[in-house]
């Protein structure tokens, strides 16, 4: 591998700039679609870009009682982590990450960082709403991380068995395995895991019904309440990148089959759009917000049972 391959992957494609533009565009489509589903006109497709530019030129206010280095450092860490994570998810036929990057376990840890960053940001801001957001974010994370790990384990074991080993946590191998044996989307054993993974989307992306830590009408955006200007913009960057990462991860885990080259990229974009429509937009317009205790109980019931079912089935078969 060339020496500049890592920086290129992290900063330009498929991480960094590419993922950011893609994430913001997806956000624009999502907002427009949701508006149309609610019989509103909705904002222009480029609204997330406008928002980001506007925030970039504003001032960041730091509350007197906030701890400044943590308050300003948190969004930086969050955005940087997601940039790195975006370079770790393979795009079938287009991009295969270096083995050092394409590890699912590392990616799982990186995916937990935005939530941790929000918690730190919330408590560093010194606002009581931030503190409430902190405790909610933590409870929610504890609830959804378990099922997520089980889903990933089910897939790893499946791929590992296929290769005569025990489990494989290499995303490249998972994609290659599905290219040979057919996507997990069409494998009945993996359907419960897929459903559990779909429940993880709204929780990780912080959308209704699981936008509990940031609930506007309850805790006024929680951890983000005190943020403004470029610091808030960085959080927007983080969430745009995160949406690309988790959506592409879903595609890599369950339906990576695609032609190579430019056609592969086009197919990937179509899948992203479709997955976002089904997994994000339709979900968030068709239900209300749960209370944190309800969400906690929900995750410990359905996604946990479903992911466990897949894992057991995979191990037994």
């Amino acid at each position: 591998m060339q020496p500049y391959a890592y920086p290129l992957a992290v900063l330009l494609f498929p991480g960094g700039l590419f993922a950011l533009v893609l994430g913001l565009a997806l956000k624009g489509v999502d907002r427009r679609l949701a508006a149309r589903l609610q019989r509103r006109v909705g904002p222009p497709l480029a609204q997330p870009f406008f928002d980001l530019v506007k925030l970039a030129f504003k001032r960041t206010m730091v509350p007197d009682i906030a701890s400044q280095p943590v308050f300003l450092g948190a969004p930086l860490v969050g955005a940087a982590t997601m940039m790195l994570a975006a370079a770790m998810v393979p795009i079938a036929g287009v991009y295969t990450p270096d083995p050092a990057l394409g590890n699912l376990l590392v990616l799982l840890y990186l995916l937990a960082i935005p939530a941790v960053v929000l918690m730190i940001a919330g408590s560093a801001s010194g606002s009581p709403f931030g503190a409430i957001g902190f405790s909610r974010e933590m409870a929610l994370m504890l609830a959804y991380e378990g099922p997520l790990v089980l889903v990933v384990a089910a897939i790893a074991v499946r791929v590992g068995h296929g290769q005569g080993g025990w489990a494989s946590f290499s995303l490249t191998e998972i994609v290659a395995y599905q290219a040979r044996h057919g996507a997990f989307l069409f494998d009945p054993v993996m359907w419960p895991a897929l459903l559990a993974f779909l429940a993880f989307y709204p929780a990780n992306l912080g959308i209704i019904p699981f936008d509990i830590p940031e609930a506007e009408t309850e805790v006024l955006e929680g951890p983000l309440l005190e943020y403004s200007g470029p610091a808030l913009g960085l959080f927007k960057v983080m969430s745009a990148l995160k949406s690309v990462v988790v959506l592409s991860l879903g595609i890599a885990l369950f339906f990576p089959t695609a032609p190579s080259g430019v056609a592969g990229l086009a197919v990937q974009l179509c899948k992203l759009l479709l997955l976002m429509l089904v997994g994000v937009t339709l979900v968030r317009v068709s239900c209300g917000r749960m209370r944190i205790d309800q969400a906690f109980r929900f995750f410990l019931k359905w996604p946990l049972a479903l992911s466990l079912a897949s894992l057991v089935a995979v191990v037994v078969i």
């Binding site: 019989r39 209704i208 936008d211 309850e218 006024l220 239900c287 209300g288 209370r291």
Partner: protein, 361 residues
């Protein structure tokens, strides 16, 4: 879990009007509530004594936009009682029509906000769309969307012809069908039920103690509606159904409002069917109002509204005092918010449909 003091209000995205709750919370649970008021005091009770009887019809309409028909109506009723003015039968029916039109719009508005607070914005948009039809009706019939200016001393300021009745009936059919659907949604939707059943409970005994009125009382099983208990305008000739539910939770209050919206549509239909001919206002254009005092009551969308008016020798009232429904329901919030979760504060506060500008005038 640590303890916080969090401010909800005076300006808060979930509150439509400024009110201030100081909450001591332990983790997600409320330990203590302080309710502060007084942010939108405009001195209207004082202003009323500086204007003459007829100007005050306009002024009282501006006390609050959501009950903007009930205030001038109760005020006019009190003045009519002092002066012994008899409102013509047609005007009585038209007053009931205006009252019920405002009631439908007000109840739908509150129920829509509930959906918004629960985070169910698609439902919020849908209910607001239905309410928008009622706003259109108001604009077409009365010429205004909120302050419809229907009332005058001795009668009403508007009339409906055959074409208007046809239009109203047609719009009511459309709204009625939508409201039936909305009732079904609120009764069955998991998101709504999960967030509103068993939340902010006001037990029957506490409801009686607090003297709550309107939908809040009826949702706690108190069968009290002025339109039946002390009929005014044309309500003694109309068939008013009073809905009650036993549970006293947020969901019951929302359902009562939805049922009442349907009943109100039925009442408008009855009025339009039975509308007698004749004048719409007392024949004397500016009757002189003698000295005296009177009390008038009417059922505003939020509950019983009481007006006291005392007239002296001048054409300006000596004293006008009103007791608004939110004033009675306000204190019950302490009971509803006890041990509630932070997530439910806005939902519970909204469930009494607080009208701050009425209460603080």
């Amino acid at each position: 879990m640590s303890n916080f003091t969090i401010p909800v209000g005076p300006l808060h995205v979930a509150l439509e009007e400024p009110m201030y709750f100081r909450l001591d919370v332990q983790g997600e649970t409320i330990a203590h509530v302080d309710i502060h008021a007084g942010h939108v005091h405009r001195g209207i009770e004082y202003l009323v004594t500086k204007r003459n009887v007829f100007q005050n019809v306009v002024l009282t309409e501006r006390v609050c936009s959501l009950c903007s028909n009930s205030h001038p109506q109760a005020y006019a009723m009190a003045i009519e009682r002092i002066a012994g003015i008899v409102v013509p039968p047609r005007a009585q029916y038209l007053r009931a029509v205006a009252d019920e039109v405002k009631r439908v719009a007000s109840h739908l508005f509150n129920v829509a906000i509930l959906a918004h607070l629960v985070g169910f914005d698609a439902l919020f948009m849908h209910v607001m769309e239905v309410r928008e039809r009622m706003q259109d009706v108001k604009e077409s019939v009365f010429g205004n969307r909120m302050d419809i200016g229907a009332n005058a001393i001795g009668g009403v300021r508007y009339d409906i012809d055959a074409q208007g009745i046809g239009y109203l009936n047609q719009q009511l059919d459309a709204i009625d069908a939508e409201v039936v659907e909305i009732i079904d949604l609120y009764r069955t939707n998991g998101s709504i039920l999960g967030r509103t059943r068993g939340i902010g409970v006001l037990p029957h005994a506490d409801a009686v103690d607090c003297g709550v009125v309107g939908p809040v009382a009826r949702a706690a099983g108190i069968d009290y509606d002025l339109r039946v208990k002390a009929p005014y305008t044309a309500y003694d000739r109309l068939d008013v159904t009073v809905h009650t539910l036993p549970d006293g939770d947020v969901w019951s209050r929302a359902m009562i409002r939805l049922y009442e919206a349907r009943t109100a549509i039925g009442l408008i239909r009855q009025c339009l069917r039975d509308l007698p001919d004749g004048p719409t206002i007392d024949s004397r254009e500016r009757p002189s109002i003698p000295a005296g005092e009177a009390i008038a009551r009417c059922e505003a969308p939020r509950g019983e509204l009481i007006y006291y008016v005392r007239m002296g020798d001048s054409p300006k009232p000596e004293r006008v005092k009103w007791r608004v429904p939110s004033f009675m329901n306000w204190d019950a919030l302490r009971i509803m918010l006890k041990e509630a979760k932070i997530a439910d504060i806005a939902i519970i506060v909204n469930s009494i449909d607080p009208c701050i500008s009425c209460t603080e005038r």
